[in-house]
Symmetry: D2
Amino acid sequence: MPAPLRIGLIGAGRIGQVHAETITRRVKGATLVAVADVNEAAARACADQYGIARATGDPHALLEDPAIQAVLICSSTNTHAPLIKAAAQAGKHIFCEKPIALDLAAIDRALCAVAKAGVKLQIGFNRRFDANFQRIRRAVEAGEIGEPHILHIISRDPAPPPIEYVKVSGGLFLDMAIHDFDMARFLIGSEIEEVYALGAVRVDPAIGAAGDVDTAVTLLRFANGVLGTIDNSRRAVYGYDQRAEVFGSRGAIAANNNYPNNVVISDAGAVRRDLPLNFFMQRYIESYQREIEAFVQAIVQDQPAPVDGEDGRIAVVIGLAAKRSLAEGRPVRVKEVA
Amino acid sequence: MPAPLRIGLIGAGRIGQVHAETITRRVKGATLVAVADVNEAAARACADQYGIARATGDPHALLEDPAIQAVLICSSTNTHAPLIKAAAQAGKHIFCEKPIALDLAAIDRALCAVAKAGVKLQIGFNRRFDANFQRIRRAVEAGEIGEPHILHIISRDPAPPPIEYVKVSGGLFLDMAIHDFDMARFLIGSEIEEVYALGAVRVDPAIGAAGDVDTAVTLLRFANGVLGTIDNSRRAVYGYDQRAEVFGSRGAIAANNNYPNNVVISDAGAVRRDLPLNFFMQRYIESYQREIEAFVQAIVQDQPAPVDGEDGRIAVVIGLAAKRSLAEGRPVRVKEVA
Amino acid sequence: MPAPLRIGLIGAGRIGQVHAETITRRVKGATLVAVADVNEAAARACADQYGIARATGDPHALLEDPAIQAVLICSSTNTHAPLIKAAAQAGKHIFCEKPIALDLAAIDRALCAVAKAGVKLQIGFNRRFDANFQRIRRAVEAGEIGEPHILHIISRDPAPPPIEYVKVSGGLFLDMAIHDFDMARFLIGSEIEEVYALGAVRVDPAIGAAGDVDTAVTLLRFANGVLGTIDNSRRAVYGYDQRAEVFGSRGAIAANNNYPNNVVISDAGAVRRDLPLNFFMQRYIESYQREIEAFVQAIVQDQPAPVDGEDGRIAVVIGLAAKRSLAEGRPVRVKEVA
Amino acid sequence: MPAPLRIGLIGAGRIGQVHAETITRRVKGATLVAVADVNEAAARACADQYGIARATGDPHALLEDPAIQAVLICSSTNTHAPLIKAAAQAGKHIFCEKPIALDLAAIDRALCAVAKAGVKLQIGFNRRFDANFQRIRRAVEAGEIGEPHILHIISRDPAPPPIEYVKVSGGLFLDMAIHDFDMARFLIGSEIEEVYALGAVRVDPAIGAAGDVDTAVTLLRFANGVLGTIDNSRRAVYGYDQRAEVFGSRGAIAANNNYPNNVVISDAGAVRRDLPLNFFMQRYIESYQREIEAFVQAIVQDQPAPVDGEDGRIAVVIGLAAKRSLAEGRPVRVKEVA
């Protein structure tokens, strides 16, 4: 058995803790040797909880540690691109949460550093590793439903994020729908050429006051002729609504939500079941494991990362195109933005 | 187009009206020319509602009418066997509601008269004509699930009948489960050799006081080796629960309930749908049409009735065996009763 | 019981025969007294099959018949508007299949005649009478899912119509999606203000050669702020795909397809069920009955028709807007067309 | 954070490895410090794979190790009772796979030793920890379906075990249905008073030649009046079929199978989904984690084990009663056996 891959975690917030738990308990062949967070107390708490040897308030300290082979960048979005660049220059393999950045120039600088250093870069589009969506992808790839014609993605959160987050996140298209833009490309296996986005403020006026929408429907046209829609809402009262359907020349394939159990209760009022899993921690827990396993494997076996920097860049490009479409009230060709 | 089959209806109660509606509005090739009910006012009301030319308080008047080719016997159970006998002697084809009678001697006299007269006799086991159960039967017959090994039938009413009916109906096994005994034979295509019935009074003590049970599970052993269960309750608060499943060497096939619509609602409390269709009028409405069509066709084309007197007799025999099993607390071979 | 409403049928083709069967066998309070078709043999055959007293090759003959109180216009689309006008002038109540016409001027002339004559006009948007869609409408109306935010309609035919029909039908948006435009308005209870349609030829190049598309996704913006999508395909190999979903502030409600049975088969290959009902005759058979019953009732009780001429006109307007959107590659405000 | 509970594993076969994986990777607060297997090479391989410090060919060596606080007995059935006794005498807490033994005297000796030593004993009825069945139990306990009236359990394996195993396992009722007897008690919360079992050889004649059945339906009567059925087959070609339903005075609750994904594919042949999870490793993986967590917690917090020795004993008693019922062709009261 080879020595485990030594990983440093940057960012000990919510998603950082998910990955810490995943690496510590679920992933073979990797070990967390250090955690950094600008909030040093958070780093220390995380280290304590997961038995990580080293905690620091300085992310760059990890990049200088020769014992660390790879880093997971889970800090705030504005730090992603500079950290990617620095980590690449330090020769570390990189796993980075989405989005890489909100402006393309910063993304391009980061990707350029990665290319120059020859390190692996994987972007955290974990949903590609979900069993349901992978099943759809396999069906499309294998021609199980023939040539794909139409795609639908429904992606609704159970509740909006704090308004402070909305203000800096890049908005619905860049912090939420970005997962769906990536999913659309993943499921169809073709590039999106045009988007037309309609948006509305229906959930919380404060979101509108912050310059964002909380409800949106985006129409997609792919290079291979597929037509698609994405449905986003910041609040589905019944829980986390994550579905997709591809229709093609020989059939259709659709993924439904995941539930905490499959029990059906019939009483005098209704035939009912419990609500879907409430949010990404529950719904996508297995996909977090699988994406980290894939990252570790890509490094260990020196193979391309399954979701690379270009994938991270394109999703941002489409998000920017959707924002422009919404702002200008017209279909926007992706080329206009990229 | 040949002249329609001229039918007389005996019994203008609930099920009689179902058949009146069916023949008048849904079945081609047949017409109701007379209706009889010992309650002459009921006969007249029925005639008015469905545009039937003749109404009478005397069922036997119909048997003497040479213009009538066939009768539907929908009067109370105790009149079934004598009316079958009389109708057969009058040369009428006969459709009779279940059960033929509660005692076998009366049944045998009736069937003997039918055999002697050479008329058609069809028993009203309408569920055989339900699309779900027919699909199961086709699968079993075609070997779609291989050799059948196990059968389950769930058959629960939404609410118990009036206690006065319970007292004269022959009880749960002869007025309710009799449909399921017939269904079991129909689905498996083999005879039941042994029954073991457990029963309880859980819904209404008055049912127990009337000498009956309102909850029962009956274990069946078929001649071809299939094992089966029947689940009966007089009250499923969520509606009419009518399901079946056959498990075999190459798979399983199961029918669920029918619903007024297939709409699913997700709200903050549950993912739910409306209750199943509430009772036999709604659930089995199409099967009533198909059974009458089959009866008309059997007469017009001079073919055997699809559910004959022997089928009617066997279901009563199994019901009697189940009653004896419950009374004596032991498995009862059907041969002991027949 | 009042005398039945005396109806004349114009057009003895496929949909005409559906209505003939419906009125003859399923609808109380109405009777077909005459049928007209420019193909007189077809009229005669229809009369024979349904026992209609009079058959003629001249539709106008029905309008002159004082015994006829209402007509059903089921002839080819190009005859709808002139026949509506003539029937109105003759004082007949009118049920007319969709679309009223493909050009708005003709529609307006017809509606003007109806208004002047004070007769009822109902348009054949039968899907409004489907149990699933009615359940959604009731939920939206009652606030069961709160304020509606997003609508999705999926409407795919099992197979394309003959290419000769495609050439004269007005195309996918006016002969097929027109039902969905009406359904969108019906479910949401608000007017569509903007459409953006993407279309493609994926099913049959001959459809493209005829100047039409066979695959389309249309984005809708409603006056009340709801965003919607409509998914159309001329060929779903698995059958007739007719679904809808409304998402709102307090939940979501979705209708699935209808099936010939609900049986599930598990074998070594899959857990599977039979295909959905194959086409509109099976899927919407009950809605045809209910729409005619509503028409008869509107006349008998002198109430407004539940789907009136304005509804018929608006659906055409939206169809024209969708066609323009597709042709010009831009969102089109409905006002531009109307 | 307290020091983790130090556990020794006895038996490094299939289920032993499941627990080794569970403790090593999924359960907090416990650590595997030694593994024993009479096949010492198997013990060593297991130790290597899961990083367990000590491996031995002598199970009793673990009992003598003062550093070990608890043992997991996963060796062959005939060793369970003596090992429980020895472990209890050595003051170890004990988790033991089902069944404790096939004869009651041996069980009683083991349980007596446990009682005397005052150690915890938990029996491996892992299904009690499955999310679906726990949801049913909660509903029954909370009165969500009112008073329970009827129970159904379906429990079918994907394929029979090796015939050599069948010969020593105690047969279908003691090695397979024993889980269902425990589940029946768990779901209903009342004791089983009578069983009547029908069995057949339908899957493999070699099973019959070995004196066992491969297909069985068992009827249960509970002390609280509930009636129940258990359906067992050694081979469901579509995978692992594990369902349950409880019907009560205020409703019904049913658990379906678990699937690797929830994707539905519609093509020209069927509307279908992938087969259920194939066997207990996949289906019950989470329940294995939860039962070990419960065991660890019971020890750490000095609370009763959630499935104790008496539960283990009763399930065997019912299995013996079912065997006798099958052999003698009559209902057997559980008291006759116990």
